[in-house]
């Protein structure tokens, strides 16, 4: 089951880190980085049912 309740201990710290890895990147580079990040996270989750729910959740 996809967790949709808060699950990250320090939300502000994580958000900051997420933005920082994009610093100085062009639009294309950021887009590529995000794509890699999605793949890395998706592999970590692994569970196809959870991934399907995540895709659904992201879609809106």
């Amino acid at each position: 089951m996809l967790k949709t309740e808060p699950n990250i201990p320090d939300p502000d710290g994580f958000y900051d880190e997420l933005l920082r890895i994009h610093e100085g990147l062009s639009r294309e580079e950021s887009e590529a980085l995000n794509a890699r990040l999605v793949l890395v996270l998706a592999n970590h989750i692994g569970d196809r049912a959870v991934l399907a729910e995540a895709l659904e959740a992201a879609w809106g």
Binding site: A32, A35, L39
Partner: protein, 540 residues
């Protein structure tokens, strides 16, 4: 007159005039149009069962030039049952190491070490004309033992008409036209299928806008027997992707993905091809080895299939029925599965042992298989030539990650190896009454090979319905059913256990003539067996 449409590599069935050409139309039980891999395999399978098969082909042998080179294990297993596999494996090249490159660097390599306990490797590389030649050799051997198979070369079908209970054909020959009739007509006449056109039938799917340049080069140099695949090759004018693959007789298949908007004549100029090949072959060592261009061509491809493969007494098989992109080598390999699916059913129907509706299961099962093949090769194509901005972004992300992280490597798709499809949820299969039984051998699956005694399991599945009894339940079982033979293996070895028993201590399998599992149980029950068999034969 029959004008050749292409050159042949071997003459296999030279034209000979037969008395039927001067007689009133003769009725044949099965007429097969097309002597490619699919038509030949079908004729051989039917003939070995004693059902007469007449093949008409408008040439006199196998076409010259670059077509299939990768033949998968399932194809070899089928060819083995038909008595044609040994020379294929002997002549073919077996390779294990593959390397994937992106741009300048190698991303990763893999080793396809063969799975133990099986007669055949995952696949071999062999030029299609040889594959066809060995099928014809096996047909000749079967005929010498009385199999009723006939191949008529330089016999071109120019017209057809459905007449109530049969089909009438117009055939052209070097001695002029004649007519034939058939109870069943099987169109194995290739991607451009004239029969499909004559019947005005539809063909649905995607055409991919891409051109591939093939160069088969002969090279004596000491070059590793590996498969090399490049995404975005760094060498000049190599296109979007490139492939290097070994074939027998010091021949290498080189493939360049050129894109859509190209000048074919220009790209086929030998100088231009040599410049590309030089750049590829020297990319890893800096030196261009000695080589000769054997054959070059440019091809495009499509992924599509007919809506249905059966139209009354006319059945479609192979490329005539469906086409896929070459990535994953699913063309001839899936066509061979069409042939084996159809052969035993047609044989039973002609003998009056099964109703004609059994042939609808051919269509349903192989349409499903075609969809699976089309899905697989479309996915490979989408990875190799991303069709949208987002798909390119993710493709490039996968490639970049794959160099460093093993997790991304399974996402890299330069074609998935052809494997037989499992007929899940189709009528005519089941029950699955083997608690703890492995998924690979569930009803609908093609039997994987495994050692039995001094040989292999598939040697025993020679073309009839079979009962395979394993473990303790194998003792003293007998079936009253004359159409089924029993193979008992009271003490299966580890590989056989892993593939057929899983957690169970014993099992009884019912297996179709095409080596697909019908049903399985944890004990022998003669009534359940007869009922499953009747369903598999379309009798209920």
């Amino acid at each position: 007159m029959v004008q050749a449409r292409y050159k042949t590599a071997f003459t296999l069935y030279p034209y000979e005039k037969v008395p039927q050409q001067d007689a009133a139309p003769t009725r044949h039980p099965v007429l097969i149009v097309g002597g490619g891999p699919v038509g030949l395999a079908l004729a051989l399978d039917l003939g070995k069962r004693g059902t007469p098969a007449l093949v008409l082909d408008d040439h006199e042998g196998a076409g010259l030039g670059s077509k299939a080179i990768c033949f998968a294990k399932r194809t070899l297993d089928i060819a083995h049952r038909l008595g044609a596999a040994r020379p294929m494996v002997e002549k073919g090249v077996t390779w294990n190491v593959g390397r994937v490159f992106a741009g300048e660097g190698q991303l990763f390599s893999f080793n396809l070490a063969p799975e133990g306990g099986q007669r055949h490797p995952a696949f071999i590389n062999l030029q299609q004309p040889w594959f066809e030649k060995y099928l014809v050799d096996a047909i000749d051997a079967a005929r010498a033992e009385g199999a009723p198979i006939e191949i008529r070369g330089a016999n071109r079908v120019t017209g057809m008409a459905r007449k109530g209970d049969h089909v009438a054909l117009d055939v052209d020959t070097p001695d002029g036209p004649y007519r034939l009739e058939a109870d069943w007509l099987v169109a194995c006449d290739g991607a451009r299928s004239p029969l499909r056109d004559m019947m005005g039938l539809d063909f649905e799917g995607r055409v991919f806008e891409d051109n591939f340049l093939i160069a088969d080069v002969r090279m004596k140099a000491d070059f590793p027997t590996e498969r090399w695949f490049w995404f975005q090759p760094p060498f000049k004018d190599a296109g979007q992707s490139a492939l290097l693959h070994k074939q027998p007789d010091d021949i290498w298949r080189i493939d360049f993905q050129l894109g859509w908007d190209i000048d074919r004549d220009l790209e086929l100029q030998p100088d231009r091809i040599r410049a590309r090949v030089d750049a590829m072959l020297s990319s890893q060592t800096g030196e261009v080895p000695d080589y000769e261009l054997e054959w070059t061509s440019i091809y495009t491809f499509q992924c599509r299939r007919m809506k249905t493969f059966r139209h009354g007494p006319v059945l479609f098989a192979g490329d005539a029925a469906h086409q896929v992109s070459p990535f994953g080598a699913r063309g001839a390999n899936s066509g061979m599965q069409d042939a084996e699916n159809l052969a035993w059913k047609l044989d039973l129907v002609l003998r009056g042992d099964a109703p004609a509706t059994l042939l609808d299961s051919y269509a349903a099962e192989r349409e499903f298989a075609a969809d699976e093949n089309i899905l697989n090769s479309s996915r490979a194509t989408d990875f190799m030539t991303p069709k949208s901005h987002a798909s390119r972004v993710f493709r490039d992300a996968v490639l970049r990650l794959a160099g460093k992280h093993p997790f991304a490597r399974p996402l890299v798709n330069s074609g998935r190896l052809s494997v037989p499809c499992t007929y899940d949820e189709f009528a005519g299969f089941g029950p699955d009454a083997l608690p703890g039984g492995p998924a690979v051998t569930r009803p609908g699956a093609a039997c994987p090979d495994a050692p039995v005694g001094n040989g292999f399991l598939l040697d025993h599945l020679a073309g009839d319905f079979m009962v395979l009894a394993l473990g303790a339940v194998a003792d003293g079982i007998a079936s009253e059913n004359p159409k089924v033979s029993i193979l008992s293996v009271p003490e299966p070895d580890a590989a056989l256990r892993a593939r057929y028993l899983g957690e169970a201590s014993g099992a009884v399998y019912l297996i179709r003539p095409d080596q697909h599992v019908v049903a399985r149980w944890d004990r022998f029950d003669a009534d359940a067996l007869d009922a499953a068999m009747a369903r598999a034969m379309g009798q209920v």
